[in-house]
Amino acid sequence: MSVQNVKSASIELKAAIEELFHSYADCIDNDELEQWPEFFTEECIYKIIARENYARNLLVCVIYCDSKGMLKDRITAHRHANIYEAHTYKHLVSGVRIVGQEGDAYLVRANYAVFQTRQDGITEVYNVGKYVDKVVFVDGEAKFKEKIAVYDTSMIPTLLVTPI
């Protein structure tokens, strides 16, 4: 599929996509993780991948999901199976930009920083990177068909259990 430039995306389109990014982050930061898979289309891809791997075309991710079912399994495991110290996230998402179009999907990029606060009350910059995403509209609603968090922070502190 060829990639076209989106020169003059309408203000409405930009606003809808920005809203998607911000409500996505809001969902995670407010611990409404059961809703998190609903930001994706039925067939979807979600990856968190180190910049090093991404740049060298190496496949390994920290999280690799290629179906909505896998997203749901992540949350079931998060809630009921995995054991980890309670923590909260705050996402700062900036520079949401539509950089192209591929069929019915908009190619969207944004930068993010995730701050993590653990039980001891200390907040640290936990993970910083960029989103390399594909957004489509399903029944007028913006959804992620593909969301790839490419992180610069190549050293993951302790563990990663909450999605980014």
């Binding site: 968190i48 180190a50 090093e52 791997n53 060298r56 190496l58 496949l59 390994v60 991710c61 920290v62 999280i63 690799y64 999901c65 290629d66 179906s67 909505k68 079912g69 896998m70 749901k72 399994d73 079931t76 495991a77 009921h80 199976a81 995995n82 054991i83 980890y84 110290e85 190549s154 050293m155 993951i156 502190p157 302790t158 563990l159 990663l160 259990v161």
Partner: protein, 414 residues
């Protein structure tokens, strides 16, 4: 006369021997210093890289032995080399990138240049400028190479040693451990990528965790939550003759005994949850022996894993008494078809810093480190499965942890 610092620390090990571990060894800075000398620069072979990461002449990768920065290269003759990443002039690192391909390593500070063997090839202004300055007449570049490590490879796994007297690698590994390495590295591999993880605990706590088959089905509740695994699956622990390396293995679920598990009344028995996408665990039988899970540790800091179809090497690196890092290298085989690669990628969700069955390991080490902080003179209790160091055909044991401490104490002189 006693030297200051590193040699003054004396650990009094509890009389019970390797069933006890004094908490002091996880915290004391001078213990950490001695480990760097007596273990990492001592008679050990340390994992450096996979042959498959350096396919071309001139390829290099930076890594560590203990906390010493090291460069591994394939030189212009195709030989694997390793040297300390420290300029022979004033000590700057001569290589900043994590990997690449080059004919020469040029230090950015004063541009001393070394070849892929680590030999000094060029010193700017060696004869001074307009007859003034420069190196003394007796300056001999041959005496200023980068510090070289001994290198040996086995089945495409590259190990390095600082000790000129350490025995051959295969002797160090022992026949049994060689067998398990060979089992995984039975044909050319293809590197699939890396993950890196840092932990706020002493390196030995993570290494003990790897050797601790007792915790596996208790702490890691993923399989049990989804009703996928039982502690009673057939498996065991094998060790080499010294006890310093180990393999913990499990056969695929055949003779499950649910009752025994329920009676143990573990919180982890619970299968009211189901995976939405079962494809994550659909794999292929890869090994004729029927082992679906094999975790092997090679002293002092390498872990080789087969967890279903995920294959990876973990390199454990100490970064101070209370910090360590884990560098994961995932791989498959060069002859994998696309489906197989997809299977490996899907299953990779099980492992790594976000792994369904390994993310807890990052957290528990920190719990130990936090818990023991004020009790250096107390010890941990390691008597599960008896008080001996021996191979066992069950996994409710800490035998391989005891093996680690046995060898550790010999090397450290405790």
């Amino acid at each position: 006369m006693t030297k200051l610092g590193v040699d003054t620390m004396q650990i009094t090990w509890p009389a019970e021997g390797f069933t006890r571990v004094p908490y002091e060894v996880y915290m004391d800075p001078s213990v950490y210093e001695q480990e760097q000398l007596k273990i990492y620069r001592g008679p050990t072979w340390n994992y450096l890289a996979l042959d498959a990461e350096l396919p071309q002449n001139g390829d290099y990768k930076t890594t560590f032995v203990g906390d010493t920065p090291v460069v591994v290269t394939r030189d212009s003759d195709g030989e694997i080399r390793a040297f300390v990443n420290q300029c022979a002039h004033r000590g700057a690192t001569v290589c900043m990138d994590s990997c690449g391909n080059t004919k020469t390593f040029t230090c950015v500070y004063h541009a001393w240049a070394y070849d892929g063997k680590g030999d000094l090839k060029g010193v700017p202004f060696r004869n001074g400028v307009e007859g003034k300055g420069g190196m003394p007449d007796d300056f001999d570049p041959a005496k200023h190479s980068l510090q070289k490590l001994r290198i040996e490879t086995f089945c495409g796994v590259i190990f390095g040693s600082f000790d000129p007297h350490v025995g051959p690698l295969q002797e160090y590994l022992g026949e049994k451990m060689c067998g398990y390495i060979q089992r995984v590295f039975n044909r050319p591999v293809r590197v699939l990528g890396y993950n890196r993880q840092s932990m706020n605990n002493n390196w030995k706590i993570y290494f003990e965790n790897v050797k601790d088959s007792y915790h596996a089905s208790i702490l890691h509740t993923f399989f049990t939550t989804f009703g996928l695994n039982r502690l009673s699956q057939r498996g065991g622990i094998e060790m080499d003759d010294t006890g310093m390396h180990h393999v913990s293995y499990t056969y695929g679920s055949s003779d499950e005994n649910e009752d025994a598990y329920k009676q143990a009344n573990l919180r982890s028995f619970n299968s009211k949850y189901k995976l939405e996408d079962q494809s994550m665990l659909q794999g292929r039988k890869e090994f004729a022996d029927g082992i679906t899970l094999a975790i092997q540790s090679i002293f002092p800091g390498m872990v080789l894993q087969q967890i279903h179809n995920t294959l990876a090497v973990r390199q454990l690196l100490p970064k101070g008494p209370g910090h360590c890092e884990l560098h994961w290298t995932y791989f498959g085989y060069a002859d994998d078809d696309n489906n197989m690669t997809t299977i490996r990628m899907k299953q990779s969700n099980l492992v790594g810093p976000a792994g369904f069955v390994s993310l807890e390991d990052g957290g528990v080490g920190e719990l130990v480190q936090r818990g023991i902080v004020r009790d250096k003179e107390k010890s941990s209790f390691v008597e599960m499965g008896g008080i001996t160091v021996q191979s066992q055909e069950f996994r409710a044991t800490e035998t391989s942890i005891r093996g680690f401490w046995k060898r550790y104490r010999e090397l450290m002189g405790y």
